[in-house]
């Protein structure tokens, strides 16, 4: 998955598990950028009576590098606080929740937002209400109104939302983790089965979303709204992270844990699938604890990705060119280094760049001078849509197909014209084979659709 349960330690800590990070110029307000970080992967909608929520003991961060040094120049921080109206009931709610201050809603969560930039810091909002989880038609009969009321416009100009949403990420988990099967190509697998149709297990699951819509001028290095895509100041590096206190002391009387010491990062996410697919399992926890500026340690995994070498083994004879390229000690994946670690420099894709300098760092790189596409392609830049991944990442971008094909060699010719892409890489079946259905997304902030309610999901 993009980064759902991607590393050994964080898989034990869902509320701190940054599962997806998105960053894009807001389609309904191109003067702003929306950044989304998702947590609590694989939420089953009926998961009560203590429905899913953020961790009160977790510091959630969104980092922005605006000068290309892979260090954060701006950090938005979110911290949560859960309250109970009535400790003498087992119920999450004691009647329909008709508003965010409904007396029927027992277990509520609030949050604060602060920002650090240029050595200064400030609180932007406090006691901001999250919406409840989507329980069902009796408890949350008008869920969209609750979610809309939980979009907060801060006095400083940002919009924020924190709460449950529909998980927009899509991939055939069951197949991909069964020795990298693609059901449409199962008959060509090393352990063959009959071809079938890909399945999207995430289409009935929810996620917890932290979303912020920020005026572009607040993010750029000089406070401008860039219009030249080839200008260095047009590119932002963006990633999310979650931290816990260094020490947690558990109260012996069941009053939870108390923290001591500095915040220590336990999860981060820039590019989708980086830690999941590129970094080997023995290094994944370390990657989560480090910052993008430290990613030179992981560049070797990008230069020789394990999956590129496995494809021709798992699909015997189907990927001879990428197998040979990967095995050649004189070749490294400069294309993947550009996409994932440095950004794409000018001159590779006409009229486009999202280069942040030679320091290898895993960040989403968003060129804010590229306007939203009027007819977006889920395949983004490789399909001629420069407003999509790897120029930032939109909620509907098919990052599985894009990265699968890139790792399989589709993007090598951009930097090595002598390379011939294996024909199988461009057949339609070599993809996620999934198209998210209606309701997965919405056209306005926070852009991820209404979460599935627990009464109706699963439906049988």
């Amino acid at each position: 998955m993009s980064s759902h349960r991607e590393a050994p330690s964080i898989s034990q800590d869902p509320v701190a598990d940054n599962a997806d990070t998105y960053a894009f110029v807001s389609p309904d307000d191109p003067t702003t950028v929306t950044i989304i970080t998702n947590y609590v992967p694989l939420e089953g909608p009926p998961g009560g009576p203590n429905f899913f929520e953020f961790g009160d003991d977790v510091l959630y961060s969104i980092f922005i590098d605006n000068d290309g040094d892979a260090r954060p120049d701006i950090e938005y921080q979110f911290q949560f606080n859960t309250t109970l109206r009535n400790e003498d009931t087992f119920l999450y709610n004691t009647g329909p929740i008709g508003s965010l201050d409904s007396p029927n809603w027992n277990k509520r969560q609030f949050y604060s937002v602060s920002v650090q930039r240029g050595g200064g810091s400030g609180t932007l909002g406090q006691n901001l209400a999250c919406p409840p989880c989507n329980i069902g038609p009796r408890s949350t009969p008008n869920y969209d109104a609750l979610a809309a009321a939980a979009r907060h416009h801060l006095p400083s100009g940002e919009w924020v939302f924190a709460g449950q949403r529909n998980d927009g990420f899509f991939v055939d988990l069951g197949a991909i983790f069964d020795l990298a099967d693609i059901r449409e190509l199962s008959s060509a697998h090393l352990i063959p089965f009959a071809n079938s149709t890909s399945v999207d297990p995430l289409k009935t699951l929810n996620i917890h979303t932290i979303a912020i819509k920020i005026p572009i001028w607040k993010l750029t290095r000089d406070g401008s709204v860039p219009s030249d895509p080839l200008a260095a100041k047009s590119v932002l590096g963006i990633w999310g992270g979650a931290s816990r206190r260094k020490v947690q002391v558990r109260d012996e009387h069941g009053k939870g844990t108390k923290g001591s010491g500095p915040w220590v990062q336990v999860s981060r996410l820039g590019n989708p699938l980086f830690n999941e697919v590129i970094v080997p399992i023995g290094d994944k926890d370390r990657w989560n604890a480090l910052d993008p500026i430290d990613d030179k340690d992981f560049a070797k995994y990008v230069k020789k990705p394990e999956l590129a070498g496995l494809l021709n083994v798992l699909y015997p004879g189907a990927f001879p060119n990428i197998a040979a390229y990967t095995a050649d000690p004189t070749k490294t994946r400069a294309d993947l280094e550009a996409i994932l670690l440095t950004g794409i420099p000018s001159g590779i894709v006409p009229g486009f760049q999202n280069f942040t300098g030679p320091s290898p760092a895993d960040m989403l790189r968003l060129n804010v001078a590229i306007p939203p596409a009027s007819d977006p392609s889920p395949f983004g830049l490789v399909d001629g849509d420069p407003a999509g991944f790897p120029n930032g990442r939109r909620v509907f971008d098919d990052v599985v197909t894009i990265e699968l094909r890139a790792i399989a060699g589709l993007t090598i010719p951009l930097v090595d014209p002598s390379y011939t892409v294996d024909p199988v890489v461009t057949i339609p079946q070599f993809s996620s084979n999934l198209t998210p259905g209606a309701g997965r997304y919405q056209s306005d902030f926070p852009y991820l659709g209404t979460p599935h309610d627990g009464f109706d999901t699963p439906s049988s």
Partner: protein, 94 residues
């Protein structure tokens, strides 16, 4: 007492608020283990865990390194006497 520097990135922003705790941490840590472990008294806790516990842990007994966390700060000291007292206190709990 020699302080070994340990500090992490953004969290430097919390340094201003943590400065007082930083300076106060070593003596407080000593108090936490009874000041003089020779006369320390093993007791049952009288309260729950405080909201902001101050924690001292021996990082490397041979080197006499002890780490103290308090508030949003963490510092490691070389204090062989404190490490010795903590180890004594730990043995008393066995």
């Amino acid at each position: 007492m020699e302080r070994l520097s340990r500090r992490s990135f953004v969290k430097i922003a919390g340094a201003a608020t943590g400065a007082a705790a930083l300076a106060a941490a070593p003596p407080v840590a000593r108090a936490a283990v009874g000041g003089d472990a020779e006369h320390g008294e093993k007791i049952n806790p009288t309260t729950g865990v405080p909201d902001e516990p101050l924690v001292a842990y021996v990082r490397d007994a041979k080197r006499g390194e002890v780490t103290v966390t308090a508030g949003l700060t963490e510092h490691t000291y070389r204090d062989r006497a404190l490490v010795k007292r903590l180890l004594r206190a730990a043995r008393k709990g066995e």
